[in-house]
Amino acid sequence: MKILCCVKQVPEKDARIRVADSGDWIHSEGLAVAISECDRYAVEAALRLKEAVDGEVAVLLVGGEQGSKSVKEALAMGCDRAIHVITDELTRSDPFVISKVLAKAVEDEGFDLVLTGQQSDDLGYNAVGQMLAQHLGMSHAQIVLSVDPVEDGRIRVSHELDNALIETIELSLPAVLGVQSGINDVRYASLKGIMQANSKPQKKVTLEELDLSAEDLTPKLRIEKVGFPVRTSQAEMIEGDAAAAARTLVDKLRTEAKVL
């Protein structure tokens, strides 16, 4: 089975976020970055499938040169080769453009299965995989919990479909799956894996080389401004050291909110 895993590099969950001077995105200098959480589970799911049915796993990342750190991490975990679409322009692009870029980057490769995380930690559109499937005429499922190969080029997939409902379906390959977090135990890269990562094939292509049409590269959305939300609730912040704050809180829960 020929598997592609799409990963995105995003700010680390604990990274200190500051709004850039331009006001329309975050300050990226010195920002700690990581592979987006759901994407890590997608990589693990891809590696497990490969181990079960034989085949190869390629990892694909769209992003600037700094993305190679995440590409290498995926290779060290066990992916066989990498495709890195190098561009600084698309860090906060809309899912339509990104899905067009992915479609173009993989159209001649003939992957049986494309795995992505169900949504990225930064933009969180929850849409790129579904749109990719639409462009390539592939079947698709979102919020995937498990995937098992069955006969005749088909896979059995279970995924979340509304509150506490799990749907089990069979899809014909090729297919795109959006993977939910927490579905497996993500492996750490072994020392051997890290050593081997550098010698694995890494194809770098620029956005220009992909030769997308102007229409495909025209965003359907623009982020005009980002900001920390204006506090709308009446949240009362309790100040003081740990002991004083704890005492004040217990007092308020007892006398003001009357919930203790």
Partner: protein, 322 residues
């Protein structure tokens, strides 16, 4: 394109979903600022119960698309059926609630029409710009669709609470041709495993998130719960990491709770968690990140290291008992 808002209503077990009523609330407000006409559409094999319920949510017309190929749900049939409705109605905006089922097919529908997908929206300004969360819910992003492009909006659950509806839509039946559709094989739709931990009944809940640290440190959540006489819950990350049982998960893929007191320890406030607990009467948040989204929902907040604050809290509770 017509100056029309098409609301896609979803059906579960023969009934109209609550999130679809919220979409009708949004559409009514948007139709005022855009002077647009609201048309709703429901899809299914038998809409006899849904049709009157949806018509009662207002709008000018309510389209009923009944076809055996629309039950059970498949994205193939939904995308095809809605594409035919969109071609007929030519609406400037298509609206749906941001349900899991919507996440499954709505982006495909938007891509099929080359539209602007604006998912998980929390507000719309009078000038047509949308607000949605980015960077794990930490920031609000003012997001503007391109000119002249059909807009596909999905609405965050709970962002547009249901109010009284005025007026009743005229019900029309609408036929579609699904002969070209090859749907996937649906094997089973089953409720997720419901464990023995029933948090819905608890009056007080102490919940831990990723910020608690690790499995051993999670004990502090149990300790505070014991001192408060509360049940123990969690956001998704501790369940994923198996610090606690999955049955304790609160949020969109776990349990939805509304206790008198909800204490969130080291929970950043991802929307998937918030939708599961924001109905709580009194919410306490303890987090070291002053910008954590959970503080937006909290009644009382403490910015600090929970591992310093909680032991003091337990001491203060025990002191008060004596």
């Amino acid at each position: 394109m017509n100056n029309k808002i098409l609301v896609v209503a979803e059906v579960r077990d023969g009934a109209l979903k609550g999130i679809s009523k919220e979409a009708m609330v949004f559409a009514a407000a948007a139709s005022n600022s855009l002077s647009a006409e609201v048309v709703s559409v429901a899809l299914g094999a038998d809409l006899s119960q849904v049709a009157p319920a949806l018509a009662a949510c207002g709008g000018r017309r309510s389209l009923q698309v009944e076809d055996p190929g629309l039950d059970p749900y498949t994205p193939e049939a939904y995308v095809e059926a809605l594409s035919q409705v969109i071609s007929k109605e030519d609406p400037a905006m298509v609206v749906i609630g941001h349900s899991y089922q919507a996440m499954d097919f709505f982006p495909r529908l938007a891509a099929a029409h080359g539209g602007a997908l604006v998912p998980d929206v929390t507000a719309m300004d009078a000038d047509g710009a949308f607000t949605r969360k980015v960077i794990n819910g930490k920031l609000d992003a003012r997001t503007v669709p391109a000119e002249g492009v059909r807009i596909f909006v999905s609405l965050q659950q709970g962002a547009f609470p249901v109010t009284e509806f005025s007026g009743e839509a005229q019900v029309e039946s609408c036929s579609v041709d699904l002969s070209g559709v090859t749907p996937r094989k649906v094997i089973e739709i089953a409720p997720a495993e419901v464990g023995e931990v029933d948090l819905a009944a608890a009056e007080k809940i102490v919940s831990g998130g990723r910020g608690v640290g690790d499995k051993d440190k999670f004990q502090i959540v149990f300790d505070l719960a014991e001192a408060m006489g509360a049940a123990v819950g969690a956001s998704r990350p501790p369940c994923d990491a198996e610090w606690v049982e999955h049955q304790r998960q609160i949020g969109s893929s776990g349990q939805v709770v509304a206790p008198k007191l909800y204490v969130a320890l080291g929970i950043s406030g991802a929307i998937q968690h918030l939708v599961g607990m924001r109905g709580s009467q009194c919410i306490v948040a303890i987090n070291k990140d002053p910008n954590a989204a959970i503080f937006q929902e909290a009644t009382y907040g403490i910015v600090g290291d929970l591992h310093e604050v909680v032991p003091e809290l337990i001491a203060a509770l025990n002191e008060a008992k004596e």
